[in-house]
């Protein structure tokens, strides 16, 4: 009989100890579900909403509220509530310091001397309220768990909730720190990009100065070489007439003329002069381009419809395209007014379209231009079905003197000059996409609205 008495007592003890272990099960379940809620939520309000569900599954209560303490304003305002749609007014923290400073398990709010009237507005039906402040690395919050029953929250409930809150605060702190690190990395990348752009701009400025200097220094010698060669060409024409008349009257001179192959020499001399003059013309073109690159702002700007500029540019460039490339243009429905120098801007479109024509020379090509009006900008996309720009050179195409064309075919200044011109007008020129099926450039200029 006494063994049975002992056994009964042991069963009751085990039941009691099992109850105590249930508390750990509850805490573990809360932590597990809480972590899952945080991990699967992308926004703060979503995190809190999920946490409310988790808490209510384990710890029954009527209402849960999370208020944020704004230290600068010294106010407390609910940022999330299990009662969606309810409006809460901010409260002054100084009126609630005693209530919000530490964990407070209120079993009957009517017994609290001077229970803050405003808290009653937040929790109108509550008799029991568990208040617990938590701090994350970035913010301070106050949890308010409420129930209409008196004495709803046991000490065990309080202990479980405090443990859970500490875990949530800790986890949120980790996430906040992780987010801050990500933001810091983004800022560092942005800084590196800006530094790189600044270096590039400095490099461009230096190059511009060099180009201007070279252009100025070469211009004079090229001028007199051109002038001299032109005079020499005139002289040679006279020499050519004189020799012809002389040989007709003297058989001896005729003999000598044939012996020295003067026919060939004179013809070749003409060719040599023509080639030299062509070389001078190309050198002059390069110098003119260098001047445009270094001083793109030398010309005056007027308000003009971009559609007209593009139409003019295409009329010039279509002569190169002949029948192998189909060029289409879709202007904007209304005038796309921009403040530019029309000739300079036309040069930009001629450069881009010429590049496109050259890129699709091995197939039947299509180039389309389309102007679209945005609120504050005018966008023109130039799209071709060429072979695309190799990825390895994409970040160099706007560099001066960079070219993939054969020597003598391109100077490598077209895109860099075009970019300088567009940026001078406060716009941007960028490669929007490029792949083996084609390339798209975007020209964006500030729109002039009447």
């Amino acid at each position: 009989m006494d063994d049975i008495e002992k056994l009964n007592e042991t069963i009751l003890q085990l039941r009691f100890e099992n109850n105590q272990l249930q508390r750990f099960k509850q805490i573990n379940q809360l932590l597990l579900n809480g972590l899952d809620a945080i991990m699967s939520s992308s926004h703060r309000s979503e995190v809190f909403a999920r946490l409310f569900e988790v808490i209510r599954e384990i710890l029954p209560c009527d209402q849960i509220l999370i208020a944020h303490y704004d230290e600068q304003q010294s106010t407390v305002i609910p940022v999330s509530s299990s009662d969606e749609g309810q409006h809460y007014s901010p409260l002054r923290y100084s009126d609630l310091t005693d209530v919000f400073e530490d964990t407070m398990n209120i079993f009957n709010v009517s017994l609290i001397p001077g229970w803050p009237q405003h808290l009653g507005n937040w929790l109108p039906e509550a008799n029991s309220v568990l208040i617990h402040p938590v701090s994350t690395s970035q913010a301070r919050y106050i949890w308010l768990v409420a129930d209409r029953n008196i004495g709803a929250f046991t000490k065990q409930f309080e202990e479980i909730f405090v443990s859970f809150s500490a875990f949530v605060a800790n986890t949120l702190s980790h996430f906040e720190q992780h987010r801050l690190m990500r933001e810091r990395e983004t800022l560092l990348e942005e800084r590196q990009r800006i530094e790189k752009t600044m270096i590039n701009q400095e490099k461009m400025a230096a190059l511009g100065q060099l180009a201007a200097g070279v252009a100025h220094e070469l211009n004079n010698p090229l001028g007199f070489i051109n002038s001299n060669l032109s005079s020499l060409q005139d002289y040679l024409s006279d020499i050519h007439g004189f020799i012809k008349k002389s040989t007709q009257t003297s058989p001896q001179l005729q003999e000598e003329y044939k012996k020295r192959e003067m026919d060939y020499i004179l013809t070749d001399t003409d060719d040599l002069l023509d080639e030299s003059l062509e070389g001078i013309r190309r050198a002059s073109d390069i110098i003119a381009n260098l001047k445009s690159f270094s001083h793109p702002d030398e010309k005056t700007c007027t308000k003009i419809d971009l559609n007209r500029v593009i139409t003019q540019a295409l009329s010039i460039v279509k002569t190169q395209a002949k029948t192998v490339v189909e060029i289409s243009f879709t202007p904007s429905e209304t005038a796309a007014d921009v403040m530019v120098n029309a000739n300079q801007l036309a040069q930009v479109f001629i450069n881009i379209v010429t590049n496109a024509i050259q890129a699709i020379s091995d197939r039947y090509g299509k180039i389309s231009l389309a102007v679209q009006l945005q609120d504050k900008t005018v966008d023109c996309r130039i799209t071709d079905n060429g072979s695309g720009i190799p990825e390895t050179v994409m970040n160099k195409i706007f560099d001066p003197f960079f070219t993939t064309k054969m020597v003598g075919v391109g100077t490598g200044l077209g895109l860099s000059i075009s970019k300088a011109i567009i940026e001078q007008y406060g716009g941007e020129l960028r490669l929007e996409s490029s792949n083996p099926q084609g390339t798209c450039f975007l020209v964006r200029l500030p729109r002039i609205n009447d």
């Binding site: 009989m1 006494d2 049975i4 008495e5 002992k6 009964n8 007592e9 009751l12 003890q13 039941r15 009691f16 100890e17 109850n19 105590q20 272990l21 508390r23 407070m104 398990n105 209120i106 079993f107 009957n108 709010v109 009517s110 017994l111 609290i112 001397p113 229970w115 029953n149 008196i150 004495g151 709803a152 929250f153 046991t154 000490k155 409930f157 309080e158 202990e159």
Partner: protein
Amino acid sequence: MQVSVNRFAIDADGDFAQSFPCDALLSAQINIAFGDVKAVSQLAQSSLSEQNEQSNARWVASSSCLGAMSNLGTDQGESYLHVLSFAGLDGSTGVASAELVQGKQQAIAESTLVNAMRDADRLGEMPSLVWLVVAPGSEEAVLKGLQNVLGDGVPIVGGSSADNSIAGEWLQFDGHQLRSEGIVIAVFYMSEPVSSYFSSGYQTTDCAATVTAVEGRTLYTLDGEPAGEVYNRWLQRYHQPPLTPGNILAASTYFPLGRQRGKEQYTVPLLAHPARLNADNSIDLFATIRLGEQVSLMNGHAENLISRAAEVTDVVLRTHELNYERRPLALLIIFCGGCMLAIKDQLDEIRCSLSARTQGISFIVGFTFGEQGCFADGVSRHGNLMISVTALG
């Protein structure tokens, strides 16, 4: 939190044999004391001293059957006052007391609890522990009053004051007022953890009957027959001699009456200790039994009574360490006075086994005529022949 235990002897003239109070008592936030009637009475007299008047220490003292026990010793009829003092609590305590008036015990308990909370300056907040000292007779009403205010969310633990012979000489003291039919309530608000367990042994026998006439704590008939006759008939089945009218507290210790409490999953036997057999064959109990409820004869054994205090202490220490990863600093133990009377010769053995389990933790034991504590189902109840152990810190 600092805890200390002091034991003060009372001499033949009824005075403290040594200097009283000591600094530990004066500087404490709260002192919990047990001693025999003489010791508690002397404590009340000394409280009028200038020294005590200047102290802010709160007191909850109760008389204990044949003295008390602590880690400093067992009284066994000699007069001592045992005081467990708490200082440096991370929180606050409050104490209030009142005289219990017949028919108003529940309301008085409610207002006294509110006053204790007000004394702690934490009115409306859930305490960690409610410690109760009450005169025997209306514990159920008192508990109901406390639960009306607090709900079941906090353990209410304590004991009914006792004397040496059920002569009604029991005393309660709150540091200012000495009462014999009173209630003293202490509320603890502290960050230090609290664990508590409340237990009794006893095996339910197949002797059972329905209460057919009862008034207050006097049981008149079971299944329509005089309660004394039924009870004696049940004892005979267990080879016990029939009881005669008079004090039957010790004789009935191993055969109390029991009724089931709690939900289906968590039923617990709640014991009622027969204290006196009256000439009209009615029985006075130390607990209230309701008309129409079924009672059973319960049976317990001395060996289990002797080992129970240490085993209950083990349970509390285990759960406290499991929940809070620390050993408590103090234990408040309530031991049924009736049980103690049945095994009083083994009290030193019990104290030694408690000391072996607690290994330096301060403890104090009061021997009471009714026990209040929190059962495994989380509800605090009044019972008899129970042991409660409450760990703090």
